[in-house]
């Protein structure tokens, strides 16, 4: 009998300790470190994204936070760049002991911080950077991309061009002279060569990043008269190019394709003519044809407009995706852990392969093989609509990410080379402007 009592007591003690090791105590707050551009030209993306993060966190906390724990944000300015960015990132992870990070906007920043996150064993969501190569060259445990990469983004724009203007013979490119400008053109031109090899590239222009003047490039394009001009520039550079080209008639002479122009539409206002093809780095548009009547979507957009004075642009929606992915991962990990607060490793395990939906676009899946997000792509053409002092998107196509993303384990450029002209014939739903 004595032995039985001792055995029961030992069993209870053991069970208590075992139970403790499986159930983390719930923290008082869930800390998130976010890198975003608060200075420099890319702050056109970074500042709205920060406003969105603050808005989302406030709303999330009002509803009880994630798993009942409020979130707390720390911001790091990507504009500092280089070693300063890495040092600040380490400080936030090691000193402030954040539970997860969202890094970054720039592909250069992602390339720097992804190995650091892996080294520090902190879960990191690449929330906006587009370089496909980051997740193609190495399999990471702690790094996930909660949106698409440059390959489906550029391929969608090209497919839209080929579907709507199939007879063009010549093309020119004017991209910013840095990693994104070069890489996006490599993706676009490789796919173009595979699907429509008869097209002639008449000019490849890469003006300096932040160039204030494109007069000479425009003169050259006016003289060359290409059927199509592609640019994947953004921010002030894109605004300047479009306005200078418009003033001199180039926008009317050639079909312009603005690879990631959605973020400039509101600023360009009436200077943006009708008929330009515009990509959105995902299915992002404040009048998303499948979501525009959704109450939560409308409420978010209107709240953002009230806070910042402008309708949301794609980095805002990308930020919302990172939050939703984190919330989904924690919910899944808590559930798998019997309702107890999960360890960091359990959250990382739960994140691989999740599907999440912000309600602001189609659902996104984090592909478990390489942690790459599969995100739909929205492309449209500019059109004047009464009641708006800027152009809206018309004839919108939304591309299925499973059709236009390279398979896991296959490098983007190698996959693009295998595409055939028939690839253009895929069925894609088309939506009219409101």
């Amino acid at each position: 009998m004595q032995f039985l009592k001792a055995a029961i007591a030992a069993g209870l003690i053991l069970a208590t300790f075992t139970g403790t090791s499986l159930a983390q105590s719930k923290p008082s707050e869930l800390k998130i470190g976010i890198t975003t551009f608060l200075s420099g030209p890319a702050s056109v993306f970074g500042v709205p994204a920060k406003a969105a993060a603050e808005m989302i966190a406030e709303d999330l906390n009002k509803k009880g936070g994630i798993g009942g724990v409020p979130v707390k944000l720390s911001f790091i300015d990507e504009g500092a760049g280089g070693e300063a960015l890495v040092s600040n990132y380490r400080r936030v992870v090691q000193d402030e002991k954040v539970d997860a990070t969202f890094a970054s906007i720039s592909s250069g920043s992602c390339t720097q911080l992804v190995p650091v996150a892996e080294d520090l064993k902190v879960m990191n969501f690449m929330w906006d950077c587009g370089a496909a190569s980051i997740l193609e060259t190495k399999k990471y445990r702690y790094n996930f991309r909660t949106q698409a990469n440059g390959t489906p983004e550029m391929l969608a724009v090209l497919l839209y061009l080929l579907k709507t203007k199939p007879d063009f013979k010549t093309i020119a490119v004017v991209n910013q002279d840095y990693a994104w400008g070069r890489e996006s053109w490599e993706i676009f031109s490789t796919a173009l060569k595979a699907m429509k090899p008869d097209v002639q590239v008449v000019a490849e222009l890469f003006p300096k990043f932040g160039a204030p003047d494109y007069s000479t490039e425009i003169s050259r394009l006016l003289a060359l008269r290409p059927d199509v001009v592609l640019t994947t520039s953004w921010g002030g550079d894109l605004d300047t190019l479009v306005r200078q080209a418009g003033q001199r008639g180039l926008l009317q002479q050639s079909t312009f394709v603005l690879g990631i122009g959605e973020s400039s539409i509101q600023r360009l206002g009436k200077d943006l003519p009708e008929g330009l093809i515009v990509g959105a780095r995902g299915d992002h548009w404040f009048l998303h044809p499948e979501k525009k009547d959704d109450a939560a979507f409308k409420a978010f957009n209107e709240a953002f407009k009230a806070k910042t004075g402008a309708w949301p642009i794609y980095p805002v929606y990308h930020m919302a995706q990172a939050f939703k992915a984190l919330q989904t991962a924690y919910d899944k990990a808590i559930k798998s852990n019997g309702g107890n607060w999960p360890t960091r490793e359990q959250v990382v395990d739960a994140t691989a392969g999740i599907e999440f939906a912000t309600g602001f676009g189609r659902p996104i899946t984090l592909r478990p093989e390489d942690n790459q997000g599969l995100e739909a792509q929205l492309v449209g053409v500019t059109k004047s609509v009464p009641g708006y002092d800027f152009k809206l998107l018309d004839n919108i196509m939304i591309f299925d990410p499973r059709m236009i993303t390279n398979p896991a384990g296959v490098r983007s450029v190698e996959w693009l080379k295998t595409l055939k002209p028939d690839f253009v014939k895929m069925d894609v739903p088309t939506f009219k402007a409101p």
Partner: protein
């Protein structure tokens, strides 16, 4: 390259050179007289652009033509307020100290102004194209140009060059500035107020930087960081010409503008390199710049 394209390239080169000259000449003038490499020059350019855009956007609804005096007014306001402040309160207390201190203080001013700019005008690109839209386009061999860029900007640049030449060579004030530049001690001994000359020169140089920004504002998007880009280019032009050389700055700006334009037509991948490649080549052969003269050190 056929003759038609060559003429187009020349027009593009002149237009670009005009703007580059307007900004660089202020930097060169300040160095020539005060011997100060003003790193805050880029911020003065940016402030001139932003204030001109603010004035233009405010006044255009009343009369679009008033945007032209608004550009000029913005340059003078920035030149006097910011330039005057920098010279009087930052540079003058360091007068006679090591040159590196003046460099550092203008760098600090640049950093502060860069943040102030973000604070005042935000981070979203601003565009105020009214002055450019008022003038018609002109067609050259079927290629459309804006009169603003191929006529007005080069015209203002030429007027500035001739005006500066006249001012420095034909007026008493100009002679006083040249005297202080030549020998500060001797000119002070004959009763010239060197401090006042420095102040006036710095304000003129700062106003020229702001004028460059103001004239650029109708053609380009105003964004954070625009000052930093311009200061690098201005240094390249001023150093290639020889610091303090007004006419040399004009010729160097033209040389860089034309070379850049031809490179974009022929080998566009070298566009970014052009000003710096020219600077390196020139400085290797003539360390004091294309138009600079060897100076005798006073013991």
């Amino acid at each position: 390259m056929n003759s038609t394209l060559a003429i187009l390239a020349i027009l593009d080169g002149i237009s670009y050179a005009a703007l580059v000259f307007l900004v660089s000449v202020g930097l060169s003038l300040i160095f020539g007289v005060l011997r100060v490499v003003n790193v805050a020059h880029g911020s003065l350019y940016a402030f001139g652009a932003y204030l001109a855009a603010t004035f233009s956007l405010a006044i255009a609804p009343i009369s679009p033509w008033l945007t032209y005096p608004a550009l000029l007014a913005a340059s003078i306001v920035i030149g006097v307020a910011c330039g005057g402040f920098i010279e009087r309160f930052l540079l003058r207390p360091l007068s006679g100290q090591e040159d590196v201190l003046q460099l550092l203080i203008t760098f600090a001013a640049f950093m502060i102004m860069d943040n102030l700019q973000r604070l005042i005008w935000g981070v979203q690109p601003i565009f105020a194209a009214e002055p450019l839209r008022l003038l018609p386009n002109v067609a050259v061999f079927g290629v459309s140009y804006t009169s603003y860029q191929v006529i007005l900007l080069p015209g203002v640049a030429l007027a500035t060059l001739l005006g500066l030449r006249y001012f420095l060579r034909r007026t008493l004030s100009g002679a006083v500035i040249l005297a202080v530049t030549e020998d500060r001690e001797a000119s002070t001994a004959i009763g010239i107020d060197a401090k006042r000359v420095y102040f006036v020169t710095f304000v003129i140089g700062a106003s020229l930087a702001a004028l460059g920004g103001a004239l650029a504002s109708p053609t380009t998007s105003l964004v954070p960081g625009m000052g930093a880009d311009m200061i690098v280019l201005s240094f390249a032009v001023a150093a290639t010409a020889g610091l303090g050389q007004i006419e040399g700055t004009a010729l160097t700006a033209l040389m860089i503008g034309l070379t850049r334009a031809f490179v974009i037509y022929l080998q566009p991948e070298f566009e970014v390199l052009v000003p710096y490649l020219l600077m390196v080549l020139v400085l290797l052969m003539r360390p004091f710049g294309l138009f600079g003269a060897v100076q005798v050190r006073k013991i």
